[in-house]
């Protein structure tokens, strides 16, 4: 059943105003959409990152629900501990509510340093939802390269230069890695597609077992786009097939969005300052390569979805 925005009014209470994320940040949009997709009480953990530091600058917290952070690479393990403690309390009759457990990590905390803890948690089958707000770099510390940084993007640790196109290789396909834990529900979504994201979040909360959602959450600051363009740029990622929307459940892949005519990747590249060096003469083969990879990846998903 589709969500209607008018019915959601008043539910945006889990993450409050007064947080200190940058103007136009995609992360709080993801948090808002995900947390409104359940009526159950939520206990949340965040990996170290933009979201964590900017929402809990002592003595202030923007979380209106139980929340804990301990480190960068361990959100998967922390959520395992939280959810298991809940089972222990339930067994003892110390709690009667059906609590949902939600972890947030950025792409640094999820693709890179936290991948092992996430994989462990998915494999063990705890009942939780892990949301990666993917902004394609270590944005909290100044746009360093992560495994999610796309090919050709300039970052502060793999910058564009006379002998560099920025990142030389394609990003890691984390959603499919999560999906390789066959007991898990895995999905990819974008803050630009709130209905898609909320439906997946609802499914994830209702799923009995581990669920993972990879959400494209633009960092306007380091993608070098105006702060007002967060939604537009995320939408463009979907419309160019750079960021396909799909989900995998019981080893079946569903493509949630197929553009009638996919927009060329140059539209996505041109819109962002982090790619601006690619527009210089001589870099056309790089753009061609990115386009090829985008099309090949989408084709791969199409083939998986039609099996």
């Amino acid at each position: 059943m589709a969500f209607l925005l008018k019915d959601l009014l008043g539910k945006d209470k889990i993450l409050t105003s007064g947080h200190r994320l940058c103007p136009g940040c995609g992360a709080p949009m993801a948090v808002k959409m995900v947390t409104m997709a359940t009526d159950n009480p939520l206990i949340i953990t965040s990996a170290t990152g933009c979201l964590e530091v900017s929402t809990t600058i002592y003595p202030f917290t923007a979380w209106d629900t139980p929340w804990v952070h301990s480190a960068f690479e361990n959100a998967g393990a922390t959520i395992s501990g939280l959810q298991t403690a809940f089972l222990a309390w339930k067994k003892k009759g110390k709690i009667d509510k059906e609590v949902k457990f939600l972890a947030f990590g950025g792409d640094g905390g999820t693709y890179d340093i936290g991948l092992q803890a996430l994989s462990g948690a998915l494999e063990r089958g705890h009942d939780f939802v892990y949301v990666c707000y993917d902004n394609q770099g270590y944005m909290n510390t100044g746009a360093q390269r992560s495994a999610s940084t796309p090919m050709g993007a300039s970052t502060t640790t793999e910058p564009a230069g006379k002998k560099s196109i920025g990142k030389r290789i394609q990003r890691k396909d984390l959603t499919m890695i999560a999906a390789a834990h066959h007991n898990a529900y895995a999905a990819q979504s974008s803050i630009s597609h709130w209905q898609d994201l909320m439906s997946k979040a609802k499914k994830a909360f209702e799923y009995e077992g581990p669920a993972f959602i990879n959400v494209l959450s633009p960092c306007v600051r380091f993608w070098r786009v105006p702060s007002s363009k967060t939604v537009e740029i995320a939408k463009l990622a979907v419309e160019t097939n750079f960021w396909p929307l799909f989900e995998i459940e019981n080893m079946k892949l569903t493509l949630n969005f197929k553009p009638k005519e996919r927009k060329p990747i140059i539209d996505w590249i041109k819109a962002q300052g982090r790619y601006k060096h690619l527009l210089q003469a001589g870099n056309e083969p790089v753009i061609d390569e990115i386009q090829k990879e985008v099309d090949a990846y989408f084709d791969y998903l199409v083939r998986l979805s039609s099996i």
Binding site: P41, I43, T45, E52, V53, T56, I57, Y58, P59, F60, T61, W63, D64, T65, P66, W67, V68, H69, S70, A71, E73, N74, G76, A77, T78, I79, S80, G81, L82, Q83, T84, A85, F86, L87, A88, W89, K91, K92, K94, I95, K97, V99, Q116, A117, S119, G120, E123, R124
Partner: protein, 393 residues
Amino acid sequence: MSTIQKNKLSLTGNQAAAEAMRQIDPDVVAAYPITPQTEIVMAFSQFHADGKVNTEMIRVESEHSAMSACIGSASAGARTMTATSSQGLALMHEMVFIAASLRLPIVMPVVNRALSGPINIHCDHSDTMAERDSGWIQIFAENPQEVYDHMFLAMKLAEHPDVQLPVMVNQDGFITSHGVEIVDVLEDKAVKDFVGEYKPKTPLLDLKHPVTMGALDLYDYYFEHKRQQAEAVKRAFGLFDKVAGDVSKLTGRKYPMVETYQFDDADYVIVTMSSAAGTTKFVIDSLRAQGTKVGLLKIRLFRPFPYKIISGLLKGKKGVAVLDRSASFGAFSPVYTEIMNSCYYLDARPNIYPVVFGLGGRDLTPKLIESVYTGLIGNKFKTDQIEYLGVRE
């Protein structure tokens, strides 16, 4: 005095720890196997498989995740335990500090093993000593009986409302962990009554009072929270004897922060911890039979460190050898350093000699211990020079 029924069982140190964990029956155990701790996790897993505990177990994929899951569990409000050794503790390092700073009363048996490299599986204290500034309470056991008894002591002290700190219950890898001894085991009910129900202060599972834990704490308040932490450790120190006294009432055994053996009239003493103390007692008996006044000071509580008690005891001794089972490269070893700190303000300060022994499981033979006493008596050591006991030239 005690009316509590006791059973005598043949247990290794690891089995003693697992037996205590079974009786404590924590809400959550998150653990990862590592030699020589493995047997604790295996034995507890069997208790779990046989329905002998109500515990929820998390078989994590690393020690880092073990401590992280414990932090999640304990912050939710569950009584939480784990166990580890050596590289496992080192991998946890980051989370060990965070567990203490979040004031989570996790109890963790640590089966002491040398840190790599080169890789080694046998006993020394380099693993636990690397965590001495972490904010955990560190208790050291000489034998399986002490391992068993220390577990309840640890649980009770950790969860005391004025403490709320994690505790490591240390024992010597293989020497204690795999050595079978007769252990007096309490009735299950006695243990359950003793540890009681855990009442966390601000559990995340208290949905009516949502709290934020682990916020970003910058220059305005970080220092104040560290000051609180220092105070909590101080309170743990103040409460140790009381809690240990309560354990004594159950077991009839005593657990002072430091223990002495043939000490009062001893001119020359060895200071050490854990299983080395047992061997030292044996040597003392034979030397005493020959009329030599030698004694032992065994440290049970290393963090917080009982400075005053120790300085009071060492005052007036002719010679003290501090036997450390870990090295601090480029500096004196941890126990020696603390003994020196203890004694600085004494008027009659004994000569205190640093001795490093037993690294990587090198056997501490009675003969070696005897050589320490002989060296002390013959004034053969230098106070500013580390004696490496039992190493080949």
